[in-house]
Symmetry: C2
Subunit: 208 residues, 2 copies
């Protein structure tokens, strides 16, 4: 129950090191830390939050389970540290207006291909309330701005972004999580050609 100051300090640089400035001085245990994070990403992505046990992750990383606790505080902290989602949507300004749909679908596919972190957030988002809120955050902070850049009417931005999210997450769900064979059989080009116009329409077409 008791929060340990020392541990909180210890895992701090790793938690935000990738997105914030502080140089995060190198430590002798960095190899172990990254080993844990790598194993955690794999397990969370493959098994979801509940079935991914700390013991299994520690075993994959070749260390004792107690190390995970020392470095990341608890299981929640480990998940937060392991899974950091940046959809890296590109700036759409230079893209021709009628190409943004295809560009987004293509980017989304490239991003998901073989990415365990994304699978993990989706799995956990479906299972876990905190995970669902995290996904809502991603939607709000990463997809909404893109939609705002392209949509004609600012008032329609959330609705149009939600439609895009449904299409794109549905793709990720069927292809990468449920692994429906027919969804996996489609090539990247086919998906871009089919879904690109859909996303394009959701973003730019006049309200039907």
């Amino acid at each position: 129950m008791r929060r340990q100051q020392l541990l909180a300090y210890e895992c701090w640089p790793t938690l935000v090191g990738m997105t914030e400035k502080p140089p995060a001085p190198p430590r002798r245990s960095d190899a172990t830390r990254t080993a844990i994070l790598t194993a955690a990403r794999e397990r969370f992505g493959a098994d979801g939050y509940d079935r991914a046990t700390i013991r299994a992750i520690a075993k994959d990383a070749g260390i004792d389970p107690s190390m995970v606790m020392r470095y990341f505080g608890n299981k929640d902290g480990l998940f937060a540290a392991a899974v950091e989602v940046d959809l890296r949507f590109p700036d759409l300004a230079p893209v021709p207006r009628e190409e943004v749909g295809r560009a987004l679908v293509g980017h989304f596919l490239d991003l998901w291909e073989g990415n365990e972190q994304l699978r993990a957030v989706l799995r956990v988002g479906v299972t876990n309330q905190a995970g669902a809120e995290r996904m809502q955050g991603i939607f709000r902070e990463q997809l909404l701005p893109v939609a705002r850049q392209v949509c004609p009417d600012p008032e329609q931005v959330p609705a149009r972004a939600a439609l895009c999210a449904a299409q794109l997450l549905g793709l990720a769900l069927t292809r990468y999580v449920l692994q429906v064979p027919a969804a996996q059989a489609l090539t990247r080009e086919e998906l871009v050609v089919w879904m690109g116009p859909t996303v394009q329409r959701y973003l730019t077409a006049p309200h039907p």
Copy 2:
């Protein structure tokens, strides 16, 4: 480990009673059985497979956990008995060709609204390997036939069905599972008007 013949027989009628013929003679415990199944559907739908514990389900049903085991063998058996998915896609023959997209989206929305079983399969399908296979079965046996009824080229049926599945499951995911506010804010009519043409195109438009 040992399978108990008696118990297998006991839960048989309930397991398949809804889809098969045998009259399934009424038992004194039927009230308890349905109470368990109701509670199980709620818990599985709300919490997913792992977090929905037999103890919690039994408590909701107001009986002892051991009763769940007696009537349904084990947790897997309970899930199989509680969650039975019939998407009930209507016969599209009488529907005008250019209306099938809107009809499907509307039907899909009506079906999902307030349906805990569907939420449960999706949650479990994402978490669990067996659940994922179950969802693939639903795709194969319930969505593919519909697509076959409408698609021009039989060879393209799986691909087109997969595209529809991605769009529809993405809708279910964002609106009913992740509960993204922007996806919940859209009305039934808006969704039909926006997504209907998409599904329509995936099913009937010539390969782009």
